[in-house]
């Protein structure tokens, strides 16, 4: 796992958006071989989407051959409800970019048979050969998508009852009325996210410091579902300084030193996007520390 630490949430978002851009460009998607991207909602990704929109408008990044799968959606609220995830995605990303509407996948929380909807979603992901990169956020309790504490680490897309805390937290989006907050959601499972070939999680803010600590410094635990990232072969967490408050100094320094070594000694041009060192021969070995 890589941990990339940036000064503030905006810098973390900028890094993440750039990373997504470079991954898509490197992938060089086509109609036959689209880039399959998993997407989150919530406060964390808003800035990432803002930058992706900028890249798209500047002509630096096209979504023409990008297929997206969103993580989750509430059950039973109208699609055009201001708090629905359809509306969120439409307003923050889709309406601004050149993506094909038919390439977008979001769970239908108003489906007649919710279980079938979830199974079909998993099948659809499979039909594209799996997800190339799943972008995610994290809740203060370490949840990913609506996989609340206690969710199975092997879970797939399904109907989920929201934790009382989540309902309370969401009440602010529904006029402060707990009764108006949906109690159910459709969500991809922890297993669905972790089946992606790459997982990128953004974590920012002091209120998420404990979650970050629990997920990377302690063991894998279904009470902090993002901790499952520890078993993923190609995972990256992008965070800001505030969210590292609960980490050991040692942990923070280690991950910072990795970047430092890469930048100063090996040279960015010699490092693959995912951190692989592509060509030993090109490295600058004149540096006294190597």
């Amino acid at each position: 796992m890589r941990l990339v630490i940036r000064d503030d949430p905006v810098a973390a978002a900028f890094y993440t958006a750039n990373y997504v851009k470079r991954r898509i460009l490197e992938f060089a998607p086509t109609a036959e071989k689209p880039f399959v991207l998993g997407l989150p909602t919530g406060s964390s990704p808003i800035n990432i989407y803002k930058y992706l929109v900028e890249f798209n408008k500047a002509g630096e990044l096209s979504f023409e051959h990008v297929v997206t799968f969103n993580m989750d959606e509430y059950v039973g609220i109208p699609r055009d409800h201001p708090e629905s995830y359809h509306t969120f995605m439409y307003n923050h990303l889709f309406k601004h970019i050149d993506i094909k509407p038919e390439n977008i996948n979001i769970l239908n929380g108003n489906a007649e048979e919710l279980d079938k909807e979830c199974l079909a979603y998993e099948d659809k992901i499979k039909s594209f050969g799996g997800i190339e990169m799943f972008l995610g956020g994290i809740g203060p309790d370490g949840h990913i998508a609506f996989n609340e504490p206690g969710s199975s680490m092997k879970s797939r897309t399904r109907v989920k009852t929201l934790a009382y805390e989540t309902v309370l937290a969401n009440a602010r989006f529904f006029g402060g009325d707990v009764n108006k907050v949906p109690k159910l959601a459709l969500t991809v499972g922890v297993g669905t996210v972790m089946s992606a070939r790459e997982v990128v999680i953004i974590i920012t803010g002091a209120h998420k410091a404990i979650a970050l600590y629990k997920c990377i410094e302690e063991g894998i635990n279904h009470m902090w579902t993002v901790s499952s990232i520890q078993m993923h072969p190609s995972a990256m967490i992008v965070c800001d300084e505030d969210s590292t408050l609960e980490l050991h100094v040692k942990t923070v320094r280690y991950f910072k030193s990795i970047e430092q070594v890469q930048e100063e000694l090996i040279g960015r041009e010699n490092i693959g996007l995912k951190g692989s060192i592509s060509s030993l021969s090109k490295m600058n070995f004149t540096n006294k520390y190597v």
Binding site: R79, D80, H86, Y90, F94, K95, P101, E102
Partner: protein, 418 residues
């Protein structure tokens, strides 16, 4: 010709306006606007259900998109007069509608001043509702019949001889305009509630014909105006003009500005001539959400400088004003709606939003057509203006097609005279 001005080209095409601010819900919001076949679309329905991406992009260059202006009181323009041009009334309607469109007025109410009964029967069929397009010009919402059930003491420029009362109740209205004409062609009527028989006919008139009724050219006391309001008259015709002047114990119709009715609307001629700027400001501060900008313009609107014979009047048009030839007497309004909007901001310190709404949303609400006109809400007609921050009009769209000087051709009645 610009492709966007070609109705055949834009037919069936999803047009996305980008780089713009939309006048929506009393705010200027940065967003896109999607239109298809002359109707503003619900973007999420287009996206999720129809899986459509835009076919055409219109770069608004940071401008403001407003609904097209609505002028609910227009007597004539470019030499034509709706009340007197009996012989060429169709020509008048066609040319004036196009002239209005190019001034940003995408819908309007052609207005007839007090006339003898036979004239209503002859002319009204030409002033009924007609869709807007680049062929037709601005949309005709329906006629405005101003009088003849008005107070002779506040007749303004109306012909004293044709004014009448309604002692026989509703039958006098039907006798005057024709009941069918009211139902088919008339959008609203201006009456004076103190004229005998008028007050008691209002409710029946509204119920049986579906028209909107406005009060004006009237010496109604504030109590009478209030009674009229309660009977369904929620509109005032050109506030201040042709009504009792304000008195502290009986403020007359002007006093309705201080009433608690939120659903009261008042036309106001904001040209700086018919209403002193301070008066416009007082009205606005008393009841900002009721202001409806009207031009009340007459046939000399848009005419080039020079001398003209309008009906039996000799007039001289000079730098945006029209005088009776050889005098300093103003012969009528030649205001242009766009100028009125700018002046409204200047006179009242209203925000751009409020000024635009006074020329779009409020008139639509006053005439109960806000589901189609005066808003950028989903499923409203795509009659649009693109404006800069000085509220100067940059581009005009009617029913989703761009109106340009090349695509909308018209001529004034005095084409040869220029």
């Amino acid at each position: 010709m610009d492709k966007l001005a070609d109705p055949d080209y834009v037919k069936g095409k999803l047009i996305k306006f980008i780089n713009c601010r939309l006048l929506r819900n009393h705010k200027l919001v940065e967003d896109y606007l999607l239109i298809l076949d002359g109707v503003i679309q619900d973007p999420q329905v287009v996206f999720w259900d129809h899986l459509r991406r835009p076919d055409i992009y219109v770069d608004c260059k940071g401008g403001i998109i407003s609904p097209g202006y609505i002028d609910i009181q227009l007597n004539g323009s470019i030499g034509y007069d709706f009340s007197s041009d009996l012989d060429d009334i169709q020509e008048a309607v066609d040319n004036v509608s196009k002239a209005q469109l190019l001034m940003g007025v995408t819908s309007y109410c052609p207005t007839m001043v007090s006339s003898p009964s036979e004239k209503y029967h002859q002319i009204l069929p030409f002033l009924g509702p007609r869709a807007g397009s680049i062929e037709n010009g601005a949309e005709i919402i329906g006629a405005h019949v101003e009088g003849p059930f008005i107070n002779p003491e506040k007749k303004g420029a109306h012909d004293m001889r044709v004014l009448r009362d309604a002692k026989n109740g509703i039958n006098d209205f039907y006798d005057c305009y024709g009941k069918d004409n009211l139902i088919k062609y008339v959008k609203y009527a201006t009456v004076a509630s103190e004229i005998p028989g008028v007050m008691d006919s209002i409710e029946q008139l509204i119920e049986e014909t579906g028209i909107v009724v406005s009060q004006g050219h009237s010496l109604a006391t504030v109590q009478q105006a209030e009674t009229a309001f309660n009977k369904g008259i929620h509109l005032v015709t050109h506030m201040y003009n042709a009504m009792a002047t304000f008195h502290q114990r009986d403020p007359g119709i002007v006093g309705m500005l201080g009433s608690p009715h939120r659903d009261l609307f008042y036309g106001i001629i904001c040209d700086g001539i018919h209403v002193y700027p301070n008066s416009a400001k007082i009205a606005y501060y008393a009841h900002p959400r009721g202001a409806v900008l009207v031009t009340d313009a007459m046939c000399a609107q848009c005419l080039a400088n020079g001398d003209y014979n309008l009906g039996d009047m000799s007039v001289q048009v000079k730098d945006g004003s029209v005088y009776i030839t050889g005098t300093e007497t103003i012969a009528g309004s030649v205001a242009d709606m766009s100028e009125c909007v700018k002046k409204f901001v200047k006179f009242t310190n209203a925000t751009k939003i409020e000024a635009l709404e006074a020329a779009t949303l409020h008139p639509a609400q006053a005439l109960k057509i806000e589901h189609k006109k005066g808003t950028l809400n989903h499923f409203a007609d795509a009659d649009l203006l693109i404006l800069d921050d000085d509220l100067s009009i940059k581009r005009i769209f009617i029913s989703g097609v761009e109106a340009t000087k090349d695509s909308v051709k018209f001529h004034s009645k005095f084409q040869d005279k220029k």
